[in-house]
């Protein structure tokens, strides 16, 4: 009799986060589409929240945001706070309504990215960052939301194929 090696969930999520750091720093941040680059931390926070619910979503969002703050050399705690809220909110959504289809993932990612960029932009304006908020809305917020949503689709399908996420409409929004 053999028993499959069970990796603790926290280790798997932590490993996923480290891989995200590497990919984000090395590849994703270098690829500009519509003038912006995708934010893997945010996308993964949304996907984990959809798959694991609000508690782990909030924890993953906190960790992803913290890493993003550190890597991007931004005020530590800002993205931490934003992604934490997103992880919790999206997790609560999945706990209550479930994930009906892959389109739900795409749509939720787009809304989450839009909200995150919007809050981040508002913080920048309040902090006295020069530049027009409306210009940033067009040049950063909307393209980033669109790009993150586009990135979320293949990433979500990839995680489903790897068995780390239930397919849409499955028994429940949980990672295997």
């Amino acid at each position: 009799m053999t028993s499959a090696l069970r990796i603790p969930d926290g280790v798997r999520l932590g490993g996923m986060l480290l891989v995200a750091v590497a990919v984000q720093a090395v590849v994703t941040s270098r690829v500009l589409v519509l003038g912006v680059s995708a934010d893997l931390f945010l996308v993964l926070a949304v996907l984990v929240a959809l798959g694991r619910g609000s508690t782990k979503g909030a924890l993953f969002g906190f960790g992803a945001g913290l890493l993003a703050d550190i890597i991007y050399l931004e005020p530590v705690g800002l993205r931490t706070f934003i992604y934490l809220m997103l992880g919790y909110g999206v997790g609560r959504y999945s706990e209550i309504l479930g994930v009906a289809s892959a389109w739900t993932v795409v749509l939720l990612t787009a809304v989450s990215a839009f909200s995150a960029e919007l809050v981040y932009g508002l913080f920048q304006v309040l902090a006295g960052q020069p530049g027009s908020f409306w210009a940033m809305l067009q040049q950063q917020v909307l393209p980033a939301a669109l790009l993150d949503a586009l990135v979320a689709a293949p990433l979500y399908l990839g995680l489903v194929r790897l068995g780390m996420l239930d397919p849409p409409g499955g028994a429940g929004p949980s990672f295997k």
Partner: protein
């Protein structure tokens, strides 16, 4: 109470919020040498070699992407430039056309300044809009008519590019033989029914320029004892009351004599190149000869000019 998952979840969520806000506050309150700033710098120090290595690794792919992007852009730019080039070529053609037209009109204006035409003469510049379809007749239609002051038998002159021995391409074109309100028919001096009283400028020998056959312009009725040589200039003599005296007609090409003919056979080449005639100038002399009303020809619809290329 802590065993209730909802309570635990909310407590955890609250704790994380507080932590993040504490982090944010601490970041802004600490100096640049603080722990959080130091953490960022330290992480950056670890990531930099990774990023450098990755940069070198993906550089060929980036170069390939840039090459493909540049290629696509060059292709697109090429199409744009081709389109622009075609537009500019069309514009150049238009400008060249306008330039040539200006040149011709300038020649005509220069021509009218020549001390040839009777004092007080007026000039109407007209565009050639139609030509005789056969060599049996040699005429052109112009876009000016009686509304512009044109009448029968008014002389018409023109200016074309100088050809060979000709002086300037400026010379006699013909006369008005038909007129309507806004168009007129001009009988060219190369028409078989045309006859122009002329003289040799140097010897003053008089004769009549006629067209014995299509394509030939001959000065007839010049006495054999008159001295005429090639390259001498033929101009209107003023006889006949149609053409004023002194309008250049052509250049003597050959001079022939026949035993059975009392007149010289003088072949001349007109100054004006009728094949490329595009504008003409109708000379309205102060004393225009009265046209015989019975010979007045009114253009019928069939005579209306038909534009030809």
């Amino acid at each position: 109470m802590l065993r209730d998952p909802d309570v635990r979840r909310r407590l955890l969520f609250g704790a994380l919020i507080v932590t993040s806000l504490v982090l944010l506050t601490a970041f802004f309150r600490e100096p640049a040498t603080g722990a959080l700033h130091g953490l960022q710098r330290g992480t950056l120090g670890y990531l930099t070699p990774l990023q450098s290595t990755a940069t070198r690794a993906i550089e060929p792919f980036q170069e390939g992407y840039r090459w493909a992007d540049d290629l696509l852009e060059a292709h697109s730019r090429n199409e744009d430039l081709q389109s622009e080039l075609e537009g500019l070529r069309g514009r150049v053609v238009q400008l060249e056309e306008a330039d040539q037209e200006n040149q011709r009109l300038k020649e005509l204006l220069d021509f009218r300044e020549a001390p040839i035409f009777p004092a007080g003469s007026e000039f109407v510049v007209a565009r050639v809009i139609g030509r005789s379809p056969t060599r049996w007749q040699e005429w052109v239609h112009i876009d000016k008519g009686s509304a512009d002051g044109l009448k029968l038998n008014q002389p018409v002159v023109g200016a074309t590019n100088a050809t060979g021995d000709s002086l300037s391409g400026k010379g006699l074109v013909g006369k008005v033989v038909g007129v309507s309100d806004h168009a007129a028919q001009i009988q060219l001096i190369t028409d078989p029914e045309s006859s122009v009283a002329a003289l040799i400028q140097q010897s003053r020998a008089r004769g009549i320029v006629v067209v014995p056959e299509a394509g030939r312009l001959v000065m007839d009725y010049v006495e054999r004892d008159q001295r005429v040589e090639a390259k001498q200039i033929v101009e209107t003599s003023g006889f006949g009351e149609v053409y004023p005296k002194g309008i250049p007609v052509g250049v003597v090409q050959t001079v022939g004599e026949e035993d059975v003919n009392v007149y010289k056979q003088i072949e001349i080449r007109p100054f004006v190149d009728f094949g490329v005639l595009e504008e003409v100038m109708v000379v309205i002399s102060p004393a225009v000869p009265k046209a015989d009303e019975s010979q007045m020809k009114t253009l019928t619809p069939a005579d209306e000019p038909v534009a030809t290329p």
